[in-house]
Point group: C2
Chain length 229, copies 2
């Protein structure tokens, strides 16, 4: 994790533990620079990250304020880095985890922008919040970038793991989504009747240097998933 990301995490924790509400003011820039012993640039990057994630807003000449932070049962659709999950009281769990080293389909190869003989890790996980299934995730990691994955790793946060072990940090992602009828396989996994509708999300993840390392397709349970951004 980069220094500004650590400061963003600490500031988020500060907001949560002090139970700050919409419109409450954060300490001044100079106070934050002192408090975190960081440069102005680094603190500003942390604030920009928190603003981008929707937790604060900055008013020119006036200060930095806390935004309405939704109840934990809502899924933050913009945040892929996952550290905010550390602060939720709800129980988040990956179940039915499978990991397979395989070759990409043409679609997956095109999304990963790799040759079709590039080895990839296919990871499938059911995501549960307080024991309710809300998402079936199918991810493909380019094995030339992420050399090793297994089920133990995939039960926890893969992004934390590859950041710690390979210094691969998520920079941004291209995310496409639409409402569609689920396949029978997807309905079964999500415990829904056949022909149910759900939100289907295609996401391509880039490192901070702009290299693609992961393509995911997520389908969400229409009753158990409410989102915010």
């Amino acid at each position: 994790m980069l220094k500004y990301q650590k400061i963003a995490e600490q500031l988020f924790s500060f907001i949560k533990s002090n139970n700050l509400k919409q419109g409450d003011c954060l300490p001044s820039l100079n106070k934050l620079i002192q408090q975190y012993g960081a440069s102005k640039t680094t603190v500003l990057k942390a604030l920009d990250q928190l603003e981008r994630d929707g937790f604060i807003y900055q008013v020119q000449g006036s200060g930095t304020f806390v935004r309405n932070i939704p109840d934990e049962h809502f899924i933050n659709f913009n945040v892929s880095h996952g550290w905010t999950n550390d602060f939720t009281k709800t129980k988040m769990e990956n179940s039915d985890v499978t990991v397979e080293k395989t070759l990409p389909t043409p679609l997956v190869a095109s999304r990963l922008q790799c040759a079709i003989d590039t080895p990839v890790y296919k990871v499938q996980r059911l995501k549960k919040q307080d024991d309710k299934i809300f998402c079936l995730e199918t991810s493909y990691y380019n094995a030339n970038v992420v050399p090793f994955l297994n089920e133990d790793i995939a039960k926890a946060s893969i992004f934390h793991h590859i950041s710690d072990v390979y210094q691969i940090n998520v920079g941004f992602s291209d995310k496409y989504f639409k409402v569609r009828r689920l396949t029978n396989f997807e309905s079964d996994k999500l415990n829904l009747p056949q022909d149910s509708f759900g939100l289907a999300v295609h996401e391509t993840f880039y490192t901070t240097a702009g290299d693609i390392f992961d393509f995911s397709e997520n389908v969400y349970h229409h009753e158990n998933a409410t989102f915010y951004i």
Copy 2:
């Protein structure tokens, strides 16, 4: 429109007109400062806005690069300010526009954080892209903040109008969404069979100073709306 927003718009136009692609480099910060005759802070704010909107990424010590910009038939789910629409070749249209001055329901009053005897403008619009209906929008504007709206204004961009006339600029929004069964009224409007599913979005808009001025509920046609962020 604020100065940094104008620069963001011009940079976006520069990317489009030069047909820049994923990974292409933008001019250096110093060049941009010269080119736009603006301060470093203002140019950095413009770049941050474009980064937040998903059009560029900044690599520390390396430069600013263009991201994959999707085909115009996809709806940018993150962008509410609307100026990027000026560059699309597809035909965007608001039809079946109705504007009514009324009192808010308890839900609307709570979302606008106003008293239930506050006058509001209720604006309903069908949104079409290349003559295909993709969204039914129902918006409520606090009439103490936005003193006047009518159908002519609502046929074009309301956000442009209130920025020009009242200097009300959109700062950020709280956006909640889920997949649900549409009401009969909604299905009819979207030309869908009854009991169709769609994406329902609740959005509360704040000015740059953090004041609420608009609450909208949008429902999207599941076949005619594909999104990206």
